[in-house]
């Protein structure tokens, strides 16, 4: 908890670092505001003791005193407001920085991390936990800063008026500390239990809604409702514990201290047999007591949220400690695009091996087709080539350089992917091809032509400027794949990976893709997973994967000639498929 708190505060301090100047200015102004505020009761004291009680009728001086009190009060309020607004702005900017940092970090985490992580929790880190950190800023900056300045000011003024009386106020601090300590002890476990139960309630609710038909079909809905009610009751009980801690130890207890303090001050006055002149001091003290207790109340009221915010920041800190992939020191680039795989082996998280002893050499500009049944390891092989995972054994080298040594930007620029389910933005065709890379119009149109997309674009009402709607709703499955193809080509990659890129395309479009691939053949290194064998017919080499191993390799003709081979049977299967599909 201690180290959590410290690391959480360090994280937040780091995010607020660029605001140091503004913070110092705010601090200075707040101190001035506090001075102006504590001046009020001093003026009242002077007014009462020098004019009112001795009946010294100097109306001009009295009016002046009241006027100064009024102005200093107004000025204090105005200054406070301006500083609170400034601090809020600082807090928001800091949270924004923190959010961006966390989000960027999450985007850069290795994909293996996402396999393990529950996406919902990760989203909650980026949004809810930074939101909780925001509370911390606002509370720390607003309340703690402001309240402690006012507190110090009031104490100072009291000491200046009568320092021995001020001493009566001092036991307030250990008392408040004791109360806060007790509150922490009592409420922290209840607070975290309530949170847990609350997310339990959410989880049960979500699960039951999703699985309601199964629950009903099993006649189990009443039983689940009972379980839900039990969790709900536990949540209620835990909240009652929290409520009790709040009631016994927060606001009511601090208000009690206020009264005790008042009694103490009055008692000291009573002992002194004060002269009439000192009544003004009493008047001022009574005003100050509220100004000492109120900030203390404000400070302690924040502890609950403070606790949550610190827990959230500690979680953020843990997330930020996760090593990102790849090593930022990687600086190599990709040359001509020669790929060599040697002894490649891979398994997901201690599961069975998905790939085993894969050896493959692809010369720059070569074309390799990968064929295999579902679960043969094709997509995993592609994921490894995309550097989504690191192989457990063996190496992948591009132009003789280990792929982990290649800089991220160079890697993504030179390795293109045409995914099976293309991800489209709800934006124009142009933006969908460009994808924020700032490419020249010329480059984009050339890529569209090369991918055979130009005819599709010509048929759209506004050509390249046509908006595609949410998730590219305007395009058919085949057109979406052509667009993804054009997008990859526009980046002028050295290595192009195709993941079942022709599965949704009709025969006519398929021919376009084949032509495009033929045009690229020799210039760009091509690795294509193909469902339709026609796509990879012209490949230099076709490898057939089965249970993570290469079982056949050769050209289309060589593999077809292998009697009883996997490729041959796959080919026959597709011959049968045609009439089924066109049924």
């Amino acid at each position: 908890m201690q180290t959590d708190t410290r690391s959480a505060l360090r994280l937040l301090g780091h995010a607020a670092a660029p605001e140091r100047r503004g913070l110092i200015a705010s601090l200075a102004w707040l101190i001035l505001a506090a001075l102006l505020e504590v001046v009020g009761p001093v003026l009242s004291k002077r007014y009462i003791d020098s004019y009112l009680l001795p009946r010294h009728s100097d109306f001009a001086a009295m009016a002046l005193l009241l006027g100064v009190a009024l102005c200093s009060g107004y000025a204090a309020s105005g200054l406070r407001y301006l500083q609170l607004v400034r601090l809020a702005a600082i807090a928001m900017r800091s949270v924004r920085r923190l959010r961006e940092q966390v989000y960027r970090h999450v985007l850069g985490l290795p994909l293996a991390y996402f396999d393990r992580a529950i996406t919902g929790q990760l989203i909650s880190r980026v949004t809810n936990d930074t939101e909780a950190a925001k509370t911390l800023y606002v509370q720390v900056l607003f309340v703690l800063l402001d309240s402690s300045i006012v507190l110090t000011g009031a104490l100072g003024a009291m000491a200046w008026l009568d320092w021995s009386l001020m001493l009566i106020v001092l036991p307030l601090f250990p008392a408040v500390l004791a109360i806060v300590y007790g509150y922490q002890r009592l409420s922290a476990p209840a607070v975290s239990r309530t949170r847990e139960l609350r997310s339990d309630i959410n989880a049960r609710m979500a699960e039951s809604i999703a699985g309601m038909s199964v629950l009903q079909a099993s006649n189990a809905e009443t039983r689940f409702a009972e379980q839900f009610a039990a969790t709900n009751r536990d949540h209620y009980r835990s909240r009652r514990v929290e409520l009790a801690a709040n009631a016994w130890l927060l606001r009511p207890a601090l208000d009690l201290l206020n009264v005790l303090l008042l009694a103490g001050v009055l008692y000291r006055f009573g002992l002194r047999h004060l002269s009439g002149l000192e009544i003004g001091v009493l008047y001022a003290f009574v005003s100050y007591i509220a100004r000492v207790v109120e900030p203390l109340i404000q400070i302690t009221m924040q502890f609950g949220q403070l606790q949550q915010a610190i827990i959230a920041s500690a979680r953020l800190n843990t997330l930020l400690q996760e090593p990102s992939a790849p090593a930022p020191s990687a600086a190599a680039t990709i040359g001509a695009g020669r790929i060599s795989l040697s002894g490649l082996g891979f398994a997901y998280h201690a599961g069975p091996a998905v790939l085993n002893g894969i050896d493959l050499e692809i010369p720059a500009g070569g074309f390799v087709g990968i064929v295999g049944h579902t679960g043969s390891g094709k997509s995993t092989l592609l994921s490894l080539l995309l550097r989504f995972y690191s192989p457990q054994s063996g190496h992948i080298e591009f132009d003789g350089v280990d792929i982990n040594a290649i800089a991220e930007t160079a890697f993504r620029r030179d390795v293109g992917l045409v995914a099976q389910e293309p991800f489209l933005l709800s934006a124009s065709v142009l933006e969908n091809i460009d994808m924020g890379r700032g490419l020249a119009r010329e480059t984009i149109e050339r890529a569209a032509r090369a991918a055979g997309l130009d005819e599709v674009v010509a048929a759209l009402p506004e050509g390249y400027a046509t908006e595609l709607g949410a998730d590219g709703a305007r395009l058919s499955g085949g057109q979406r794949q052509l667009l993804a193809f054009a997008r990859a080509l526009a980046g002028e990659p050295r290595i192009l990976l195709l993941d079942e890129a022709t599965s949704h395309i009709d025969t006519e479009t398929e021919q376009k893709v084949q032509l495009a691939l033929a045009a690229l053949h020799g210039k760009v290194t091509l690795v294509a997973i193909a469902h339709r064998l026609a796509t990879i017919r012209s490949a230099d080499t076709i490898i057939v994967l089965k249970r993570g191993r290469i079982v056949e390799r050769g050209t289309h003709e060589q593999l077809l000639a292998l009697e009883g081979g996997v490729y041959q049977r796959l080919y026959q299967l597709q011959q049968l498929e045609e009439p089924l599909a066109s049924r």
């Binding site: 928001m92 985007l107 850069g108 079909a217 009573g270 089924l580």
Partner: protein, 583 residues
């Protein structure tokens, strides 16, 4: 039937009148003592100033003060526990009621609701209603009470002229509070929306992290995020700025009132209308008027929020049961024929009928296979038998009566259904299997798992049958999930087993052994098997081939092969495909 929020809260107050009445009494006690204290302090100050106070009298006066402080403390602790405790209970009750309501709704209801909205009802909206029943009632009652008492003490206990004069700024303060609280509500609403947008972007990008990474789009996502984070920060800042506006309003109003009180008060003291002690207590009262001014706006805001939440919650709570459960025929004749005749169904809002003219008879001990292309209506047929929807034409009978004539729970107990998407709950594997038969013995559970060919898989987990699954549990393969769902249905041991493509993720060999187990264990009972894989229905007594919601062909496996239609082509294709998976 429809209740307003006001009606709900009023009913709840009547129901919990003890809590509310005792809270009201305690609040009144707090208010009375709170206004008594300044008066008492004023009297002590006067006595001190005029040197009338003996040591003993001072002791008594202060003891009274301390006693009042403690009394306030206990009363405050008391009302908090009673009032908020009751409100928490309302929240709990509403949540349980909502859950129960949801268990009585059928798929038609869920089609029209997003699960996110339903979740929000269970959390945020119920919280808002709870606040209206607790916080708002408190603020309304206590605000008015404090206002009246303080005003009474000021006018009757001090001086009405002074009161009128010093109160001048307060109506302005109330107006400003009202305006600010409305702005705070508006701006924080916008801040919440911005936060929602941020959340959605994080969700989208983290779900699609692979595509983002492959396309090198992380930078772009980070830019989008930065823009959204800026909007969120800006909206938050505006809300925060309005919240900060409370500060100067209180400051200016209170300073004005204090200076007015001191100016006008000194005239009164000068002329002997009031004492200096009375002036002291008067200035203490001023501070106590802030809360009632604030409470006025606060109550309105809370009630508005509560009303908005209740208007969303109420329709769901009062929605009629989704499935009519008025059948009284009992018991359901388990051995009776199932006869389906001229069955037709169209999904609400769909252009075309999903099923039409479906008819078959399923006698005890027989197995029916249903096959056909995706979207041919296979799953819908099963859902009609489960009474998820009501058919538009024709009827389905079990024994002598249509299925609606039997109580829903009996019909559900007679059918064990394994849906396409196997749904597992966050519980142990054993609990998941025993879903439909609470208190099943361990050996029965294991027997069902053996029949579903998943026993060995389960034994291999470190915790065996106690292994937790679901969101926080182990990750199971699709095939394992399906087989556990199947074991669940087998344990239910119902008269009719319905498998909806329930073995699609299981390899053919395991499928064959499961089907053999089923034939053995369920001898004499009925099954309807829907499958894409024809091998699953090849042994069925009768097979329906559906096309576009109609029966395109029917007969035994051999009949259908002879007919050489879709079934025969599909069969040949799947045989060849299977040969690729083998060896």
């Amino acid at each position: 039937m429809h209740t307003s929020l006001f009606g709900l809260v009023a009913r709840f107050i009547r129901q919990k009148w003890r809590n509310y009445a005792s809270s009201a009494l305690m609040l009144a006690g707090v208010a009375a003592l709170t206004v008594w204290i300044p008066r008492h302090v004023g009297a002590v100050v006067d006595a001190l100033a005029s040197h009338r106070l003996t040591h003993a009298a001072l002791g008594i006066a202060l003891a009274e003060l301390v006693a009042a402080g403690f009394a306030i403390y206990f009363l405050r602790v008391g009302w908090r526990q009673r009032l908020y405790g009751a409100a928490y209970q309302l929240g709990m009750d509403l949540r349980t009621r909502l859950y129960l309501r949801l268990t009585l709704q059928g798929p038609t209801f869920y089609l029209g609701q997003s699960s996110g909205d339903l979740m929000a009802l269970a959390t945020n909206d119920i919280d808002a209603v709870e606040m209206a029943a607790g916080e708002a009632v408190l603020a309304g009652f206590d605000g008015i009470l404090t206002l009246l008492m303080v005003l009474a003490m000021m006018t009757l206990g001090v001086d009405w002229r002074l009161t009128l004069c010093a109160l001048l700024p307060f109506p302005l303060m109330a107006l400003a509070f009202n305006r600010i609280s409305r702005q705070v509500f508006r701006t924080s609403h916008r801040a919440l929306n911005c936060f929602g947008a941020l959340n959605a972007q994080v969700q989208e990008s983290l779900t699609g992290i692979r595509t983002l990474r492959a396309l090198g789009q992380c930078e772009r996502a980070a830019t989008t995020f930065a823009a959204l984070a800026e909007d969120a920060a800006d909206a938050s800042f505006k809300a925060q700025r309005w919240e900060a506006a409370y500060e100067p309003v209180v400051g200016v109003a209170l300073t004005s009132a204090a200076v007015l009180a001191l100016g006008a008060g000194s005239w009164l003291v000068w002329h002997g209308y009031i004492s200096i002690g009375q002036l002291t207590s008067f200035s203490m009262y001023l501070g106590q008027l802030i809360w009632p001014m604030f409470a006025a706006g606060w109550v309105l805001t809370l009630f508005e929020r509560g009303r908005a939440a209740w208007s969303r919650l109420e329709p769901v709570l009062s929605a009629p049961d989704g499935v009519d459960d008025s059948g009284l025929e009992t018991p359901l004749p388990l051995d009776g024929d199932i006869r389906v005749d001229g069955l037709g169904f169209r999904y609400p809002g769909a252009a075309q009928a999903t099923l039409s003219e479906i008819g078959f008879t399923l006698a005890a001990g027989r197995t029916l296979g249903v096959v056909g292309a995706t979207g041919s209506g296979k799953s819908t047929l099963l859902r009609l038998l489960l009474r998820h929807y009501h058919p538009d034409a024709g009827h389905a009978c079990w024994g002598m009566h249509p299925i609606q004539a039997y109580p829903l729970s009996e019909l559900r107990a007679a059918i064990a259904w394994v849906p396409q998407e196997s749904f597992l709950f966050s519980a142990s594997i054993a609990e998941n299997i025993a879903l439909a038969r609470r208190g099943a013995r361990r050996d029965e559970i294991e027997q069902a798992a053996r029949l579903a060919a998943v026993h060995q898989d389960i034994e291999r987990f470190p915790q065996g049958y106690a292994t937790p699954v679901g969101e926080r549990g182990v990750t199971l393969s699709g095939g394992q999930r399906q087989r556990i769902a199947l074991a669940r249905a087998l344990l239910a041991d119902s008269a009719l087993l319905m498998l909806d493509d329930a073995l699609s993720a299981v390899d053919t060999e395991t499928e064959a052994s499961i089907l053999a187990h089923l034939r053995e264990a369920r001898r004499g009972r009925r099954a309807i098997i829907v499958s894409h894989r024809l091998s699953a229905v090849a042994d069925a007594d009768w097979i329906l081939v559906l096309k576009d919601g109609r029966i395109a062909a029917q007969g035994s496996h051999d009949d259908l092969l002879l007919a050489d239609g879709w079934y025969a082509r599909q069969w040949r294709y799947q045989q060849l495909e299977a040969s690729l998976d083998a060896n």
